[in-house]
Symmetry: C2
Subunit: 488 residues, 2 copies
């Protein structure tokens, strides 16, 4: 992609023509952008959204739609789950770190119930039903699910388990018609439009326009032509992650090289770089979500082992945690060991992810045979299964804490699924922001006129992940960005 | 530390008095700074070094002194080791990644023999003797040692093993009089002084001075008073890592929180931030060296297990690799399992690190007893020892590839050393630079007038580490920075 426009800021006094103008200019019409636009408009601002593609939606509209909410939302309460902001915070600090931003997480937990109500008030539908099966997503239209391993080791001993994956009610999920992300975005975009939010599509943002230290606009390309957009009170950056910027991935999160996933190719990191060019600070640039293409219904009924034949993660936890443990700490090497009856039971189970269901690569009558067929060193897999079975007989897993209901000895015949190099992910690092979504200069002070939210920022995740935290902090801090930008 | 001076750049037209002036101004009088100063002076530049403390040395003078060199240095050849730039590169790309800068590593390997000769020509002494024992450092005055696991799995199958840890000949090491780092720095500083390099001590650099996009000087504080220093052709940043900047560690490399080590408290990341403030790009900010305070002579004679009683690293490799595996991938949990005779043999062995020698915490007659005493789940440690012994009987370690000479079955009585939370480290990420030590703007272009080297830059290490790579790329790219800065 030839792109000769420099990324360095343009001084306002160099602008000859202002092609567009608004109080608040939002770059990106995904979840963070639409949330910013709504709140800025409600605060009385004239709002213009610039979107690179030819329509609203961003990665959000293609996503499963989880929004991480808790602390006692009406949906949690209606479904009988107790939670509190403190309990939610205890989980998030343990699961999303180390290095998680405590101020941001505290703020996010304290505001979570209000944020749920805001979404509902803006037309986002949540069905009062809970999906309790192992899985990545709800297979049908259920509104609530565990989405971060809250009810599994080690976090179930850190905080009281509560499901916080809130999913907008969807239709036609199995055929991909209207997923949760679409059902999240559609009412929010309609709300924005009702509020008079304007948009310009096919606008690729290029560089910030500054007046001294203050950001006063943005240069974009519209079908190859440069246009200057003036922001009277503030610019909001909401253009997503850098998962598709190969050089940035190489320089910051190299384990993701060649494995971008669950994000869209527009996620090129440009907004991060535009802000860096005026001294914006960064945080947690190595952090990555990691999807793992093993079927949770099968994983939970077997044991996952690494290239040394050792277990390394409790198989009943959030599959994104399994993905991170596999890619980041076990060299992307994983096998699922499962006996025939468990495999059949898993295949028959209600599952949200039938396309993750693979055939075993190896099948044997004994663990010794399987170990040999897989090329694992003699004794490794045998001893792993022996130790697992010894405790599973008593419904226990003292090694990794898998819940009792899933602890069953592995019998014969036995199989192994080859789950090596079965990961993909997106980046979680980005601009360092305050709880008011101000972009921080490396000096520690906010950059006047510049705000950001969503995956171009470092949000509530420092290293760990839970499904729904991206749409969660994107919408939560998108709103803050809109409010702050309207004030200027 | 109250420090009201802003970090944002100062425009040259705001400078009222230039207190000092030189062609090349170098910030930091450690290994990168002195190397830059020498080469800039040799290129005909008038050079001024600004140093924060009251004397030369930096972290380098306190370090063990390893310089990572290879490709067939005269010292390698004299001691009978074959190496080539290609072989060196194969190791470095495998051991220092993922995401390692191939252009930089290729350049570094190709220039390594010349760099060795440059050090010798400038008075750095290397004794023609090889130290082949397991250890962190040479205990006496030997000049060459394995310092990155080149002769251990998995890298001994990637490249032909060659030792590349070159250590300046030291005296009085056991009493700390003149370590290798001191013996590296002293002749280089003397060389610089002979070349007319000037220095100003007690100068804390604060912010860059710019003329448009060009860096033309630096503001420093001298006993609380701000002084402006003009650089006619270039500024070289060489002020070390950010290991002692708590906020940066929290934001970029949180597993190091509370564990800064092998660096000095002056390593506050300031130069990184000063350059960020004018749009400098970063790389690999999460990368960390990790020291591990287990005695290599004992570790190699036992097995290291994690909190699940599983082996996770071959015990005969570079201890810094053991440190990274322990801290970054095994939650800083490690135990050394060793039998009595191996423990006694290890304690009697020649060792560079007697202060790492700890007493066992648990001692038992059988593995079952030890496992129980340690509180490990039943069967875990027993099966780990069983599998290890089964193969060690044949002098093999198919699980982790420990070399045959160290594979001996573990007998009785048996002990465990508690090596949990026994790590410390320093940061490896920083400014993104070219092979000419130009600091890259986030646009991808060099920032005119600004150069950097050493641990305030991202050098040859993207994630992995080998002892000597910091003094190695610091001196190598310090020289380049001096040459580039003299040209301007």
């Amino acid at each position: 992609m030839a792109d000769a426009t420099p990324i360095r800021p343009l001084s306002a006094d160099q602008v000859q023509t202002w092609h567009h103008e608004a109080d608040v200019v939002v770059a990106g019409f995904g979840i963070a952008g639409v949330s910013a636009a709504i709140e800025a408009a409600r605060a009385g601002a004239d709002v213009l959204v610039l979107e690179r593609t030819s329509g609203w939606g961003g990665a959000a509209a293609l996503a499963g739609g989880f929004i991480y909410l808790g602390g006692g939302t009406p949906l949690q309460k209606a479904l009988g789950f107790e939670d509190s902001p403190e309990n939610m915070k205890a989980f998030m600090m343990a699961a999303l770190g180390p290095g998680a931003d405590e101020e941001k997480i505290t703020d996010y937990c304290n505001g979570s119930v209000e944020h749920y109500n805001w979404l509902v008030d803006n037309g986002v539908p949540f069905k009062e039903s809970f999906y309790g099966q192992p899985g990545w997503e709800t297979p049908f239209d259920d509104g609530l699910m565990y989405s971060g391993g809250e009810n599994a080791a080690p976090f179930n001993s850190v905080a009281t388990a509560a499901p916080r994956g809130h999913v907008p009610q969807m239709t036609g999920k199995r055929t991909g018609e209207k997923g949760g992300g679409f059902m999240l975005m559609k009412p929010l975009v309609e709300t924005a439009e009702k509020l008079g939010v304007r948009h310009e599509y096919d606008m690729r943002v290029q560089r910030l326009i500054v007046d001294g230290d203050r950001v006063v606009g943005i240069v974009a390309k519209h079908y190859g032509k440069e246009v200057a957009v003036r922001a009277r009170t503030g610019v909001v950056l909401a253009t997503g992650s850098f998962a598709y910027n190969k050089e940035m991935v190489q320089n910051y999160a190299p384990r993701l090289i060649g494995k971008p996933g669950a994000s869209i190719e527009e996620h090129d990191g440009k907004a991060i770089q535009m802000a860096q060019a005026i001294g914006a600070d960064l945080a947690h640039m190595d952090a990555t979500e990691v999807a793992f293409f093993g079927d949770p219904q099968l994983m939970v009924r077997g044991i996952l082992v690494n290239a040394r034949g050792q277990r390394y993660v409790n198989e009943d936890t959030y599959p994104g945690r399994i993905g991170q443990e596999t890619l980041l700490r076990n060299d992307n090497q994983a096998y699922l060991i499962i006996d025939e009856s468990a495999y059949e039971e898993g295949c028959a189970a209600d599952s949200s992810t039938p396309f993750f269901r693979f055939q075993p690569k190896w099948v044997a009558e004994t663990v010794e045979e399987l170990e040999s067929d897989m090329g694992l060193p003699a004794g490794t897999l045998v001893s792993t299964v022996d130790v697992y079975n010894r405790h599973a007989e008593n419904g226990e897993d003292p090694v990794l804490g898998k819940k009792s209901e899933w602890c069953k000895p592995i019998g014969s015949p036995i199989a192994a699924l080859d789950l090596r190099n079965f990961t993909a992910g997106f980046t979680l690092g980005g601009l360092r922001t305050t709880i008011n979504s101000e972009v921080l200069h490396v000096s520690g002070e906010p950059i006047p006129g510049l705000f950001a939210a969503g995956r171009c920022t470092s949000g509530v995740c420092a290293g760990g992940y839970a499904s729904g935290t991206s749409l969660g902090d994107g919408s939560f801090y998108g709103r803050r960005a809109g409010i702050s930008a309207a004030k200027g």
